[in-house]
Symmetry: C2
Subunit: 253 residues, 2 copies
DNA sequence: CGGAAAGTTGAGTGGGATCAAGCCGCGTGG
DNA sequence: CCACGCGGCTTGATCCCACTCAACTTTCCG
């Protein structure tokens, strides 16, 4: 069970104790603040596949942590075209992109049965001012989303993007305690294709090629990773680790 | 002159008073906190074209506000390919993507003479806990970067991306008090092409086409926007504003 | 003035989109 | 039970946009 702030579930009750992902608060926590945080959490009824968690243009009030299920976020441009901007899984936060202008810039829809914890953002920010760990966690979360979105916009070649997607899924499944070798996709081919900026036909052919090359084995929504290393090599996802990067900060060209 | 937190320059001195962009703190400010904020600001010597502000892999210590000049950020993947991830201008913050893992995921290089204010992040975050406006500003800044990076990863067609780039530049020039109709590019064609995920040749041809269609007039690095409306229409940049978006939050499929 | 880098132009190629058809799983209803 | 229809997915054929390669021009800077 994913608890919103990575704390072990509160002793004595099975309910979510705190909304920010495993290993968030490694040190000691002031019990008072923690209880305050718990008090902010709004438990919502499960959302079923196809239901919207928020819509593009909605006023922003809450951020939310996914506890169970998969959420797809997508934007619709003024031509009416849909663009999937992300798949979100347990432990992920959604809604962070709406803080700035107070309106959600995208739709969030449940792909399967989703339960989440909602946190009124204003109150959470107020609490963060008194709870350094919480503030730091929020900064890190948002920073990670910036870096992730930036990486996504790079990966140019189709096969690299697909490889990055598969590796990313594998790692996220592992983070949830599932097998990183074999798992079940919760999204359709069309969703994946759209997310990777590919035509569904192209994705289908790519998957077939990956399978022929022994990288993966795909049957419907069942995926098995066979060539993790080669797949990871294909995904130029991770930026190159630069050796001796701590040298001179500034130098003339 | 851009002051880091949008305050008018401190009376009596021309130096930067506060590092977060125009209109940041609309309400009253506690003078004590403000002075503390000013105390955190590190004034650095101007960086000249080609010099690095930070490098991929560098330890993250500071965020920085650009006061003058243009900064290019780019990542290098493990194939050695360069990918420009953004152009940053006065008032913009750089370094926010590094908070999460404590290392910069990209290089930042000055395209012309750049002056910036550096803020030790740890201390700034501590102060933010006592200065709600500052904390809110940081959240908004990061949120905006998430939304921006997400939008960038969409815009698929080459001409749409170029149009979005031009409109974005025009608006940012206007925000700095320059003409939004006619201005000077600070980055090379190669940089722009790389940013837009195009070959330099393709960009050259596209610009020529835009010029033939009367959208812009380009001469070297001098740009004049002639068809703002058509350009804006081409750039599917802004997501469609959804009417009556405040309806039911959740609905079954 | 000369060399190098940046930018433009032209010709040819290829990767991914598009168009079109077929397959398959599934629910519905006769 | 099967016929039917629908949507998701795959396969094939063709097309086109953007990339590549190559040559040339311009600009920059010594």
């Amino acid at each position: 069970m994913v608890t919103p702030f990575g704390l072990p579930p509160a002793r004595g009750r099975e309910c979510c104790s705190c909304p920010l992902g495993p290993g968030c608060f490694p040190g000691s926590l002031e019990a008072v603040n923690l209880r305050e945080l718990e008090g902010l959490i709004e438990h919502t009824a499960p959302a079923y596949a196809g239901s919207f968690l928020f819509r593009q243009g909605d006023r922003f009030e809450h951020i939310a942590v996914i506890r169970l299920g998969t959420v797809k976020t997508y934007a619709i441009d003024r031509e009416g075209r849909e663009q999937t901007t992300g798949f979100h899984m347990p432990g992920d936060f959604i809604g962070l992109s709406a803080i700035d202008d107070g309106r959600h810039p995208c739709n969030a829809v449940a792909l399967d049965t989703v339960t989440l914890c909602r946190l009124p953002f204003r109150a959470t920010a107020d609490l963060a001012a008194r709870m350094p760990m919480l503030q730091a966690k929020l900064f890190r979360l948002m920073s990670r989303d910036i870096a992730r979105a930036t990486r996504l916009s790079c990966n140019n070649a189709a096969d690299e993007r697909l490889a990055a997607f598969l590796i990313g899924m594998a790692d996220r499944m592992a983070a949830q305690g599932y097998s990183s070798r074999r798992w079940q996709l919760t999204m359709s081919r069309m969703d994946i294709a759209n997310y990777l900026r590919l035509a569904p036909e192209t994705l289908s052919r790519l998957l077939r090629r990956f399978q022929a090359e022994g990288l993966v084995s795909v049957d419907g929504r069942e995926v098995e990773v066979r060539g993790r290393e080669r797949l990871q090599a294909l995904a130029a996802l991770e930026p190159a680790r630069v050796a001796c990067a701590d040298q001179a900060r500034s130098e003339a060209a």
